[in-house]
């Protein structure tokens, strides 16, 4: 699995271009073309109460987006990357998915929202919806994130997300797909951290020998994952953790100075996902790092 073409949809939020710039290194791992997309939300120009459609407003928005994209394209040309501009009107998420399908991209990049002080989540509802509905890998690119750590407000800039990715696995088929994708990062990643968290509730009620068996089995599987990566010429390091999955993964990523988290999206039933959110979605929501989700 090689990412040759990616879709970069944007609403031109603050630092959107910086987020794009930090992906340009992907040329080293096979990236050839970037599709720059801007979806004008139909609600911005359509259904004016008793007024119809703001055609001139749409034209103005299109022109603005075109000018900005053309400026961005200069940077892409300098890096030897092809690019294409798509500006459409519609419902943002279905439209992004439609463009991705039409363009045949390998990866969709989602931005982060401008977060207020009261919010803990690092992504917006549109990104969450995109994660839920995309059948392609989605990279939630968080270029600059502010978060609280040990009572202090920390500002983090994720400039080189591919340098030290953390591959979080639950041994599911989608985790294997994530492994295959991570294996394509040779030349960009210094080391891949392969991690598994033994869920606290699984260990609950188990005797010491059972826990020991679980640990041994997990370590063996982690080692097998690392071997596969090493066979591809990548340095890999195994980490086994225990506890509630989401906080454990976030702690691990901080301790090991990971630059990105890669996960297969887990196939939880719709009801549970609706109310609780899957582990992968919650990690994407609450981690300060870019998260690459592989469905």
């Amino acid at each position: 699995m090689v990412i040759k073409k990616l879709l970069f949809p944007t609403k031109f939020q603050e630092l959107a271009f910086n987020a794009l710039e930090c992906l340009l290194d992907m040329k080293k791992i096979g990236l050839e073309e970037i599709v720059l997309a801007h979806v004008i939300d139909r609600e911005e120009v359509g259904f004016v109460p008793y007024g119809g459609y703001l055609k001139e407003e749409e034209i103005r928005m299109r022109e603005e987006a075109q000018i900005r994209f053309e400026d961005w394209q200069k940077a892409l040309v300098k890096r030897g990357l092809r690019s294409k501009i798509r500006i459409e009107v519609g419902n943002p998420i279905p439209e992004v998915l439609r463009i991705a399908d039409e363009e045949g991209v390998d990866l969709i990049v989602a931005g982060r929202k401008n977060r207020s002080n009261l919010e803990k989540a690092h992504i917006g509802s549109h990104t969450l919806e995109l994660m839920r509905h995309s059948s392609l890998p989605v990279l939630i690119c968080k270029y600059m994130v502010q978060y609280e750590r040990q009572g202090e407000r920390v500002t983090q800039v994720n400039e080189h997300p591919f340098r030290r990715p953390l591959l979080a696995t639950d041994w599911s088929p989608n985790s294997r797909k994530a492994l295959t994708l991570a294996a394509s990062f040779k030349g960009l990643a210094e080391k891949i951290l392969v991690a598994h968290v033994i869920e606290a509730k699984i260990c609950k009620g188990c005797d010491a020998s059972e826990v020991e068996r679980l640990k041994k089995e997990s370590n063996e599987r982690l080692a097998a994952y690392c071997r596969e990566l090493e066979q591809q010429g990548l340095a890999a390091e195994a980490h086994l953790y225990s506890g509630p999955s989401v906080p454990a993964l976030i702690d691990l990523s901080r301790e090991q100075k990971a630059t990105m988290i890669i996960m297969g999206t887990t196939g939880k039933d719709r009801f549970r996902e609706f109310w609780l959110g899957s582990v992968s979605h919650r990690v994407a929501e609450f981690s300060e790092l870019p998260v690459l989700l592989v469905p």
Binding site: G46, F47, V48, P49, Y50, G51, G52, Y53, E57, V89
Partner: protein
């Protein structure tokens, strides 16, 4: 607009109205000014027996009727609300698009604050009544119809020949009374546009679609068009609206015949033929058909609420029929079931969005609140300050044209209610609505036919006459169909095709 500036404007207008209303109440009698609770509200009587009894009791003590003491200018916020809807989309569409909710809240506040301050308990009762008994069921019905019809999608390859286009309009006209003009319009506008992709001139097709599917077609049941549902909420039986069938058939027959001729002329003039069937021709099919079950549920719920009497429930001092609450609950359930059972793909392919219904929700709360004084004055009949209007509007033909002309440029739902109350005030001033409406239907039914037909038919006269008009226009323009301007629509289409049709209808039915 900054919140601070908005607050200052609200405060200024509120103070002006406050001073004026206080003066008016003082002028009519100290009791009214100093003891708001002593003033009786005529509108409060339409809740049914309990309210009528309470009102009658109060009147027995000789208190003033609220509708008789309210000054004419207490209708200014209502007029301004309607003018905002009419003028902002024309002259400041971008501002309006982003701030219509604030505009609606502004006019609602300018009426509600001084009204509550001066008339206290009675005013609170009136406002609560209009919200609980009119606004809530109104918006629930629109939401349910919008949601359920948004789950139905017509797919397939159609070739927009004159015959096919006319058939689409006929189907839409027939469906409009049962799934609402909004629902029928949303279901068929995109297939109509897709079918005519290859045609050069499409604007007139969309305009006739607005005439028929988004307006005239909805005149047969209270589900069809919001004004008729408001009539239903005020005691007009569900099937009474079938009285409008003859004028509806004549109107739609004329418009369909004209459309067919016009489309045939353009079809031949354009000299274009449908593109060769490229690739696989997609068979016509309806996706989300199960939503017709929920649609039937909506029809059934509305029907049942008009047929049973399960007594009343007191909600915050407002007596509402138990069956009305049950109906509203069923409508919400139908909408939720539709959402849960309809695939995401259908909603996506339908470009389904909540935005239009949210807009209607914001605007109509402003309309319903600001219209309270106007309705009270009209109900007071010749004793109220709109006596000149009641005296001037005498015959069905007057009601048809005045309701119609106002519905052309103001939303037709409040216009209908205004003239519905004008008719009640004219024939049965001061009588509780529960008694007056059956008498109106029995002895002067032609007046209500004229009001209903005027409100529904004339809503097509401009883009702002009825909510689906602007939705259809928006979808057509987004799809690349250049639509006529506001005045272009009226001059090139309404004056040319609609008004002569209404003249014929007048001669046949209302003279």
């Amino acid at each position: 607009m900054k919140i601070g500036r908005l607050a200052v404007m609200v405060l200024l207008v509120v103070l002006c109205l406050l001073a004026g209303l206080a003066a008016a109440a003082e002028h009519q009698g100290p009791a009214a000014a100093h003891d708001g609770a002593a003033v009786t509200a005529t509108a409060g009587e339409h809740g049914g027996g309990h309210e009528a009894a309470a009102a009658g009791e109060a009147k027995g003590h000789g208190e003033l009727e609220l509708g008789e003491i309210l000054p004419l200018w207490s209708c200014i916020p209502f007029a301004c609300m309607l003018l905002s809807i009419a003028l902002f989309p024309l002259f400041a569409p971008v501002f309006w698009h982003h701030h219509f909710g604030k505009v609606s809240a502004f006019w609602a506040a300018t009426l509600a604050i001084p009204f509550l301050f001066i008339f206290k308990g009675v005013a609170a009762h009136e406002l609560l009544h209009v919200i609980l008994a009119d606004y809530v069921p109104f918006i629930i019905l629109l939401w349910a119809l919008f949601t359920v019809s948004g789950g139905i999608l017509l797919r397939g390859s159609l070739r927009g020949t004159p015959l096919v286009n006319t058939v689409i309009l006929i189907i839409g006209t027939l469906l409009a009374s049962w799934m609402g003009t909004t629902g029928a319009a949303m279901l068929l506008i995109r297939p109509l546009l897709r079918a005519n992709d290859y045609r050069k001139d499409k604007a007139y097709m969309v305009v006739f679609f607005i005439f028929l599917v988004a307006n005239a077609g909805g005149s047969l049941t209270p589900l069809g068009d919001p004004p008729l549902f408001l009539g239903f909420l005020h005691g007009v039986p569900f099937f009474w609206t079938f009285h409008i069938l003859p004028p509806m058939l004549l109107t739609c027959g004329i418009l369909l015949a004209v459309f067919f001729l016009l489309d045939t002329y353009h079809y031949k003039k354009e000299g274009v033929t449908a593109p060769a069937e490229e690739g696989v021709k997609e068979k016509l099919r309806l996706d989300g058909k199960h939503n017709f079950i929920f649609l039937a549920g909506i029809v059934g719920a509305v029907l049942f609420s008009g047929m049973v009497d399960w007594g009343h429930v007191n909600t915050l001092g407002v007596h509402r029929a138990t069956q009305d609450w049950v109906r509203d609950g069923i409508l919400i359930l139908m909408g939720i079931l539709s959402l849960v059972t309809t695939s995401r793909k259908i909603h996506e392919d339908n470009d389904f969005t909540w935005f239009p219904i949210i807009e209607v929700g914001y605007l109509f709360i402003g309309i319903f609140i600001t219209m309270v004084p106007c309705l009270l004055i009209l109900k007071a009949g010749l004793k109220g300050q709109l006596d000149f209007l009641i005296a001037a509007v005498k015959d069905p033909v007057h009601f048809f044209w005045i309701t119609g002309l106002l519905s052309s440029f103001l939303d037709n739902a409040p216009t209908y209610l205004t003239f519905f109350n004008t008719a009640l005030g004219r024939f049965y001033p001061g009588m509780p609505e529960s008694q007056a409406v059956p008498l109106l239907l029995q002895h002067n039914g032609l007046f209500l036919e004229a009001i209903s037909a005027g409100a529904v038919f004339f809503g097509a006269n401009s883009y702002i006459g009825n909510a689906p008009n602007f939705m259809v226009r928006s979808i057509a323009e987004e799809a690349g169909t250049p639509m006529p301007s506001f005045f272009g629509y009226i001059i090139k289409y309404s004056l040319l095709y609609l008004v002569p049709t209404f003249v014929v209808v007048t001669f046949v039915f209302f003279l």
